[in-house]
Amino acid sequence: MQIQADENVEAQRNADHGVIIATRDVNVYYGDNHALHGVSLDINKHQVTSLIGPSGCGKSTYLRCINRMNDTVDGCRVTGEIMLDGVDIYGPEVDEVLLRARVGMVFQKPNPFPKSIYDNVAYGPRIHGLADNKDDLDEIVLTSLEKAGLIKEVQDRLHSSGTGLSGGQQQRLCIARALAVRPDIILMDEPCSALDPIATAKVEELIDELKENYTIIIVTHSMQQAARISQQTAFFHLGEIVETGDTEKLFTSPSDERTQGYITGRFG
């Protein structure tokens, strides 16, 4: 997106903030274990939505429903409705490969492929045939690395191994890799939990920039992080959504006492 006059950007962003993902009554079962109980949540376009809650509350499970990564888990069953731009992603005509190209994912532990930095970023465009030739591919790789704020650090060693980078750089490489497929939505599953505060700050800054063009859903254990980077927050507890709403409101005047207890550190 071109940088325009401030008010234009503001206007456009406001116009963009419709609901992109609407989930209604989503239940997830791992075998006999009922992990998510009737979760309904709307995700706004071009905003950061953070999912918070104590460990095992189902926030990662919910996240993994949105790109159907739960399909890869044996014995996992999902019921309910997850509408992406009005289409049920669990509908029979939806191809999960296409869906995952549209909904990118960044994992908790940086997981670059044990290949070169270039090949890491180029992998997605290659399998989806996004580049017609070598120059196109170079362009995509460089742009993605630039968007992920990594280009300065790696431009002289694009062909050295991605696993040789530091933890924070690896995580930004994974973000660049997700961006290279040009998704609409990026799911982040505790992307900073394995990073030190400086690397975390860089990733947070990056998330803040990315929301101009992408819808971001982030699972985090850090309430400060949720407060810093997200516009919407959903609080999960024991497989249910307890409270959801504007981040500012949720953190300053929560309506449910469990939320109150969690954000003030009384449990969780």
């Binding site: 790109n67 990564m69 890869t72 044996d74 490969v97 296409l98 869906l99 995952r100 190209a101 990118g104 994912m105 994992f107 532990k109 997981n111 670059p112 492929f113 044990p114 992998y123 997605g124 399998i127 989806h128 696993t163 994974c174 890799r177 997700a178 497929v181």
Partner: protein, 435 residues
Amino acid sequence: MTDQAQKEGGNAWQSEAFIKNLTKRKRAERRFRLTGLLAIITALTLLAILLFSIVSKGYTAFVQTFVTLDITFSEEVIDPNGTRDPMELRSANYSKLVQNALRAKFPEVTSRRDLRRLFSLVSGDADTKLREMVENNPELIGKTEPVSLLAGDDVDMVNKGYIDRNLIEDDRRVKDMELSWLDVLEADGDIEIHFNTGFFTNGDSREPEKAGIAGAMVGSFYTLVITMVIAFPIGVMTAIYLEEFAAKNKLTDLIEVNINNLAAVPSIVFGLLGLAIFLNVAHLPRSAPIVGGLTLALMTLPTIIIAARAAIRAVPDSIRQAALGLGASNQQAAFHHILPLSMPGILTGTIIGLSQALGETAPLLMIGMVAFIADIPSGFGDPATVMPVQIFLWADSPERAFVEKTSGAIMVLLGFLILMNAFAIFLRKKFERRW
């Protein structure tokens, strides 16, 4: 904590019971270490004894005794008509030349029986060498030249010290007369020991001095090629399918249990299977590397599948998730990432499975690879034998000279096994990855 310690206000670690317990723990640990050390020493000693006995018996198999005789290439024996026709030269009686040379050397020997003994000083293979010399250079005809000829196995054994000269003559395979001839040859400097190239270039033979393991090596090679070509792709594909694609249910559990059981099935059972299917149903040639290879492939498959599954499982799930998260299909994730990353482990397992197959005898007995085959096989359908079977055959032969051949062949086989395992270790070290 004892009452005393409590009274004195001491901490737990100062109490008598604590110290007693500590000494007990230390003693137990020392005992355990000692046992471990003992186990290792025992294992190494046994291994050393095994290697020593094989090497000490077998190293002489790599050298061979040669007798130098003045051979007269007389024209009347080789080419009585003087035509120099190649066919004529080929079919001439070259043994006669050797016999003439021996007669000339020991003119005192006249009786038929003694002459036969005399002629056995030189291997029956000597005529081949003379024929080749003449065919390559017909100019030799009519000349007399000293030629170094392969000695008979008895001479070889005496020369290598395997026959005790002090035994009474009746108990000795080599009689006094032969020993006296040998002494004469020795005194004239006509007996030499050379590196035994024939051991590596000849096929099997009834005469120990001519027997070599080339036939068995080539047979083993063809057999292993078949085994690898069949077992590797099928094994890897099975492993990939079971790990990455198959649903986890009762059926796949059953398959897994059965594969694990197959790995433990005695190899002779696979031989029976090979006999029943490849020979009796498919009518493939008996004793051929193709059948041996197929049979060994059946035996090696479970090993490869188990090793490949373990290697695939060792690839972190995060790699799979990263690929799937980018929109790769299952197949792309498997073939772009998981298979290449698990390849070192798969190859290691495969090589270990193949070296098992290389040392396998029992199943091959069932499909007729135990036959005596003197020719070096030139294809997958030729009758052949393999190294371990050759060892078995030689160990079963009555001639004294086959003892060293047996050990020599074992050494060659062990050499190949060590090479293959070293290659497996090399692959593992080279491509080992840490996440």
